[in-house]
Symmetry: none
Subunit: 401 residues, 2 copies
DNA sequence: TGGAATAGTGAATCTCATC
DNA sequence: GGATGAGATTCACTATTCC
């Protein structure tokens, strides 16, 4: 079943039979008290909706009525996910406790992401909350396993453990004192903090609808709480992300939205089914990091900001010279000092600076006298220490002769 | 001021003058309805406390009274951080809204960590929430800057941009078509999701107290919301992490706890922060909780192992000389080089070494020629750069005359 | 006075030139 | 031509300026 309904969510929910839905995902207005508006990239359609309410009670009253209907249509094994942000999350969870009861609270999922924004006085917001409740204790759940953390001790994965007399966890041993191997391990169960990249402004998946969520987020929710063929419902479907995710995972779905534009957009997306894989998730954050730990410490020790993705520059100082940035280049292990200097000079960005710094890290290659006023060469502290130690060793050697 | 008070938090708070505290951190029982108990590694002390309540209302009534007192003692520029977990966070935030008002809500901080799995049905719980409210709009806040994301390229942070006629953002150019460089950049402001490792069960820092929080977490809170000399209060101080963090950052503090054991433990931890030189080596890799970040980076950049602050030594090189350790001393901000050298020479531990290293970090005091063969003085990279920049500035000045 | 325009942001993508 | 990498681009941001 694929159903997209234009209409008021409260009224439309009333038309749905009881106990037939496996998963409800709700992404209602967050009570931001703002008008949200965004235009498609071709400037042809301006999507907007008003998240402005007379009072908090108005908002909560609407949400309460909606949640009551949701509970009714949910199967006994069904789950509900309510997406909110800091604006009203606490009030919404109080509602959820009222309607679904505290014992059916399953998780507070944190969707965390990095975002572009100007600095403000205070901390940069970079997460939203998704409350996960089930209708009963007997809820459907598929455990997803993720990779072990790199710091995990392999011994702990392979060996069975038990609690000793003091309640401490120790490796279990048989009568002969041999360790006992554990059963098959699948990885670490998925945690309740989900680092999923925010839908990037440049992503093809973006359709120009404000508050659009990444398909990946919805796929994860659908994966843990439903099986193929199950019925998914989104009562505020907006740009239709839930429907797209459900379709891609072969689930049945019902999408409801009050806006004509939203319904049209959802239909269009279902026909095109454009889902961009996050390159960042695919390749992993670490694949973008080109600097070694040593280089990072060195940069930090001179109060420089590290930059990746640039051949000539490793970072730049926090202070400026002539109101221009001061780029820094660290001599690489097998690089001559000349090459290091050439490298920073070739960098398109560094060319615009009046002063550049090269940090020398080894002495394998002698440097001919430097003419360029715009380049400062500094020996790294480690190199200086190495040189001094050599001097002292020489003295010790000479004396003992 | 350093004050550790044994007593009921409500009563003790009442004895504190109004509007004198800069930062309150509260880590109350979370309403888990459980008894928490943990034993020290040597099995000698069993710490425990009861987080069992007659009803949610009982719990909230206690917290409400506590928060009202907190508001009273907080300065007009003061901040409060309330640490909670999923058990009652929503109710606590409703309380905070009531007492501190919604407009003084600053952030919902997510402390996320990796944890051992006890595979249950559902998502692995791996975060806690810290609510950040201020007393007024005019609150104290120090922005901390973090590194740019590895996916960020230099070009855009380096170049000034403007909106063109179509409202698109493009690089700004001068009359000659050259790009214009941007202002000074400090990095990315700290976000509200903090990934700080949960106390590793084997960590030295761990003292055997249940619900113990990492010092790093508290240091971050103290850093963003107070300056040196400010007054920090923790009304449920437990194992005393807040006090340790406050002391390490040179803040005054008051810690309150009802448990005799907790008070004793806090005192013990505070006392151990002053560690005798003789204990230094046997401890080996001691925790470096009191080192400033700058010193840490400097030590790391020369491949040295940081040691806890003592009068003479900041760290040891990983390599040895004459089969003896090489201690390192970093010249402090307001310290003459002579004093730095005297300091390391006076250190009991350093006396056993054949070679010592002093890293000079400023030029305020001239150094007379050094006779001592056993001391190597190295200028820090930052100082070297500073000197070079001064030279260049002089040249620019002379030329223009 | 207070909403609207605007100017400054940086994450992560897309694009396009280069190998 | 596929892979690579540098550069440009866009926005559920935020603070300031502008009427």
């Amino acid at each position: 079943m694929e159903k997209i309904i234009k209409g008021n969510c409260l009224e439309e929910l009333k038309n749905i039979d009881s106990e037939i839905v496996d998963l409800i995902y709700l992404d209602p207005p967050f009570f931001t008290q703002k008008k949200h508006s965004l235009t498609t990239r071709d400037n042809r359609i301006n999507y907007q909706f008003y998240d402005i309410w007379h009072s908090l009670n108005d908002y909560l009253f609407m949400m309460k009525k909606c949640l009551i209907e949701c509970k009714r249509i949910l199967k006994k094994t069904g789950n509900i996910f309510l997406h909110c942000d800091k604006s009203a999350s606490h009030h919404l969870r109080v509602l959820l406790d009222q309607i679904f009861l505290p014992e059916n609270f399953r998780s507070e999922i944190i969707w965390s992401y990095k975002r572009w924004s100007n600095s403000k006085k205070g901390l940069l917001n970079s997460h939203q909350t998704i409350y996960f409740y089930s209708k009963t204790y007997d809820f459907k759940f598929n455990t997803i396993y993720t990779d072990y953390s790199p710091t995990t001790n392999v011994d702990q994965i392979w060996q069975l453990r038990e609690k000793n007399d003091y309640g401490k966890s120790v490796y279990k041993k048989d009568k002969n004192g041999n360790i006992i191997l554990a059963q098959e391990k699948k990885g670490v169960p998925l945690s309740d903090v989900w680092e999923i990249p925010f839908l990037n402004p440049k992503a093809k998946e973006r359709v120009g609808y404000p508050t659009q969520k990444p398909v990946l987020l919805l796929q994860q929710i659908i994966n843990i709480s439903t099986d193929e063929g199950d019925l998914v419902l989104d009562a505020f479907c907006g740009s239709g992300t839930t429907c797209v995710a459900a379709k891609s995972l072969h689930r049945n779905f019902i999408g409801i939205d009050i806006s004509e534009d939203a319904i049209a957009l959802t239909q269009k997306r279902l026909n095109e089914m454009i889902i961009t894989n996050s390159k960042l998730l695919e390749k992993g954050k670490t694949s973008y990091i080109e600097k070694s730990e040593d280089e990072l410490f060195l940069l930090k020790s001179i109060n420089a900001i590290p930059v990746q993705r640039n051949n000539g520059i490793d970072g730049f100082l926090k202070r400026q010279f002539n109101e221009k940035p001061i780029p820094v280049r660290i001599q690489k292990k097998d690089e001559t000092l000349e090459n290091a200097i050439a490298s920073i000079n070739n960098s398109e960005q560094a060319k615009k600076s009046d002063l550049k710094i090269v940090i020398q890290t080894n002495n394998y290659h002698q440097l001919f006298p430097l003419e360029d006023e715009k380049i400062i060469v500094i020996k790294s502290s480690e190199l200086l220490i190495k040189e001094e130690l050599q001097k002292v060793n020489m003295m010790v050697y000479n004396k003992s002769n």
